[in-house]
């Protein structure tokens, strides 16, 4: 946790020299605590105080990066327990595991399926983040072959999983030119594995059976000079992962307990009997504090669900995802084509635009500035009323593009009909369906 103004004041010279631009050291300390001033503005602060202040300012959950040849994934640096308190910043990395005991051709097929997968969602192209390769064989040459095979199929980051430093080093050799996560240091191998992570400057996952042991290990490993760590508290089931991951996030945020201030790696497949159960556990880890989520099974349907959930949970609650207000032309509309209006909330816009597009029917979509809210929410908040809709009709110049004066409004705001007829004299207001999915059927009946 950041230091309070008074705690910072104790570290300052307390001479009130005013050279920082503030009348007293206390005033300066208060500004520092509020992150409205820079420590560098104090010419007399001691080196020791600088170090202490820098340490206190370090993020409570360390930011850890892994890199492939073409992609970088950063996790950690979270500052809240609940997304409404601010936002969650770094989406958990979704990885798919392959084992080196699997024939190379099958490994390549699995990598191609999972890494080649992408899905369009509200104008974004969503995909998984990388591959975890496990040295299940226990043989260095076999592991190297598997890592090389995976890297032929993807330029995304890897997680190298093995029981000892020798195997991990073999994997690192095969993955040269990338920055993988090593998994894992344990109470039995930590000295060798940590030395390897330090020498190669790669992040290191640390696994232990209890939080006490986990904290002991990270302190020892930090002592060897490894800063980038990831935690595996060893739990796998739904109840124990929820409790333990919550506790880890609290330790980091509420107590600034540095030994546990790292992102967390989870293996939902190890706590699940089949794909659907694994997906449910992974969903829990997305909502509640997973950093790297390593899946054992891949299917497009489950990938889509998890990627959508991750996008939703990690959307900044203070900044709804919006599209630009204005006129959107779909399927090459003519002056006789229908005119529909909706809001500029991304999910709303894409639901409507996709339906019209998919129907094959031409249409003009007028997107009103509703401050990024959905139709009902915007209406309730007074951001999608007759006045705003009329304004966007007039300001966008749509009247010069169409040869009729008919406007289709969402069924959810049918109550606006009367007011809109007043606000737009000469226009005919038509009430469309409530849900976007019913638009194609509605548009088939359209005539100008």
């Amino acid at each position: 946790m950041a230091l309070s103004g008074l705690q910072i004041y104790k570290l300052l010279p307390q001479t009130n020299c005013k050279e920082c631009g503030y009348p007293t050291c206390l005033a300066f300390a208060m500004k520092l605590a509020a992150k409205q001033a820079e420590l560098a503005n104090c010419p007399y602060v001691s080196e020791e105080a600088k170090e202490q202040l820098a340490a206190a300012a370090a993020p409570p959950v360390r930011l850890v990066a892994v890199e492939g040849k073409g992609h970088k994934v950063e996790v950690g640096n979270e500052t809240v327990l609940f997304r409404h308190e601010k936002t969650f910043f770094h989406r958990p990395g979704l990885f798919v595991r392959v084992k080196d005991t699997t024939p190379v051709a099958e490994i390549k097929a699995a990598v191609s399926a999972a890494m080649g997968y992408a899905v369009e969602y509200v104008g974004m192209r969503l995909h998984f983040d990388g591959v975890a390769v496990e040295a299940a064989s226990g043989d260095a040459a076999t592991f190297k072959t598997a890592v090389a095979a995976v890297l032929e199929g993807t330029d995304r980051p890897l997680i190298l999983m093995a029981a000892d430093a020798g195997l991990l080093e073999a994997g690192l050799t095969a993955a040269e030119g990338t920055r993988p996560l090593l998994y894992a240091a344990t109470k039995d191998n930590w000295e060798q594995v940590a030395a390897l992570a330090k020498a190669k400057n790669v992040p290191l996952a640390v696994r232990a059976g209890s939080l006490d042991e986990l904290a002991e290990l990270t302190v020892k490993i930090k002592g060897l000079g490894v800063e980038d760590m990831v935690l595996d508290p060893g739990v796998r089931d739904a109840a124990s992962t929820l409790v333990t991951l919550t506790q880890l996030r609290r330790q980091a945020l509420k107590k600034t307990f540095r030994p546990l201030g790292f992102p967390i790696i989870t293996f939902p497949g190890e706590g699940a009997a089949d794909g659907l159960e694994e997906t449910m556990l992974a969903a829990q880890h997305i909502a509640k504090y997973g950093g790297f989520i390593v899946l054992d099974r891949f299917s497009p349907a489950s990938a889509y669900a998890l990627l959508a959930l991750r996008t939703n949970i990690y959307t900044n609650p203070q900044e709804p995802i919006k599209v630009q207000p204005g006129i959107y032309e779909i399927n090459n509309p003519q002056p006789t084509s229908p005119l529909m209006v909706t809001t500029n909330f991304s999910i709303t816009y894409f639901s409507v635009a996709n339906e019209v597009d998919g129907s094959g029917l031409p249409g003009w979509l007028l997107v009103a500035d509703a401050e990024g809210m959905s139709v009902l929410t915007a209406w309730a908040a007074g951001k999608f009323d007759a006045e705003r809709i009329a304004k966007s009709v007039k300001s966008t110049g749509i009247e010069s593009k169409i040869g009729h004066k008919k406007l289709i409004i969402p069924g959810h705001v049918s109550v606006l009909l009367g007011e809109l007829e007043e606000a737009l004299p000469g226009w005919e207001i038509l009430v469309g369906p409530r849900e976007a999915v019913d638009l194609p059927g509605f548009l088939k009946l359209w005539s100008a």
Partner: protein, 320 residues
């Protein structure tokens, strides 16, 4: 090294609400179902009590649900034509509760009458011993007419009448008060609106332990994060002692998931969406999973496989 666990001391707790009444209590239910009572956040057993698990209500329709996805119609088979048979199938599928949804119109477009609503309620009460929830079509006049009749028909059964909204709650609450029932109070994804409606309803004399609150949710991919965060804020407020937020939460992941294209249709969608049936069941299941993590006490669901999966997951989360 000993890590000192970070344990929150919460000042408040969620009220316990009991649905249904057995013969001893003036009804005919085989058992009652109690929800709520949490003294901590969802499933954090080390910190407080979770006396009752989240419960699943299976939604059945009093009239043939012509607008439902073919996947749902297939899953329930012939039962969709007969609310009594459907209620029995729901019980068999593991429902803790049955939610009977009344529509505006029935076969051939004829308006559903109070007599129809009574008959469907009676048939379902006779077909299953589970506690019942009955929701109106969502249109003010129809809701008031049908739910008053339902409340009379089910007198003493402690059913839940819904949906009370700010624009229409008085008649429904009065009917629930007169006949010993509970109500479901729905608001649009806003903590203060939820509190306000709870206050309005309790001001009519309805005890708080006969109100469920429905903060409105959205399906996965369609704004689920809004409802999710409002639920987390309501639950945190409840635990911090804010009385008007201490009601158990009812949410409708079945309706929210199945009205989206991902569930509803199997053709004309991107190949990256994967297998239709797998995706549809997943969509409802994952929507429900996210909502139990944010504090849901009653999940209203539709597909029997999604129900089975979510119930099994709740069992795992309840294991200490």
């Amino acid at each position: 090294m000993t890590v000192e666990l970070q344990v929150e001391k919460w000042a408040g707790s969620v009220l316990q609400v009991t649905l249904g009444a057995t013969a001893n209590e003036g009804g005919t239910r085989a058992r009652t179902v109690t929800v709520g009572g949490e003294t901590t956040l969802p499933f954090l057993h080390f910190e407080g009590q979770i006396p009752n698990p989240p419960r699943v209500a299976i939604e059945i329709s009093a009239q043939y649900p012509g607008d439902w996805s073919p996947l749902l119609l297939k899953a329930w088979g012939d039962a969709v034509n007969d609310p009594a048979a459907w209620a029995q199938a729901a019980e068999k599928a593991g429902a803790d509760l049955v939610l009977l949804q009344l529509n505006l119109t029935g076969d051939g477009g004829a308006p559903v009458t109070a007599a129809d609503a009574r008959a469907a309620t009676r048939a379902v009460l006779q077909a299953t011993g589970l506690p019942l929830l009955v929701f109106g079509p969502g249109q003010v006049d129809a809701d008031n007419e049908l739910l008053v009749a339902v409340a009379e028909e089910a007198v003493g059964e402690r059913i839940v009448l819904g949906i009370c909204e700010e624009k229409n709650y008085r008649t429904i609450v009065a009917a629930a008060l007169a006949h010993g029932h509970l109500v479901n109070a729905r608001t649009a994804m806003d903590v203060n609106l939820a509190k306000q409606l709870n206050i309005l309803i309790s001001d009519m004399g309805m005890p708080l332990d006969r109100i469920l609150m429905d903060p409105t949710t959205a399906g996965l991919g369609y704004g689920i994060e809004y409802g999710y965060s409002v639920m987390e804020r309501l639950r945190l407020a409840a635990l911090q002692g804010d009385k008007m937020t201490q009601l158990p939460m009812l949410v409708t992941p079945g309706y929210e998931a199945w009205r989206q294209k991902e569930c509803k249709v199997g053709e004309g969608v991107p190949a990256s969406w994967g297998d239709w049936e797998e995706r549809a069941v997943l969509w409802e299941t994952i929507t429900a999973t996210a909502l139990i993590e944010s504090g849901a006490d009653i999940l209203v669901m539709r597909h029997p496989e999604a129900v089975r999966r979510v119930k099994a997951f709740i069992d795992r989360l309840m294991a200490k």
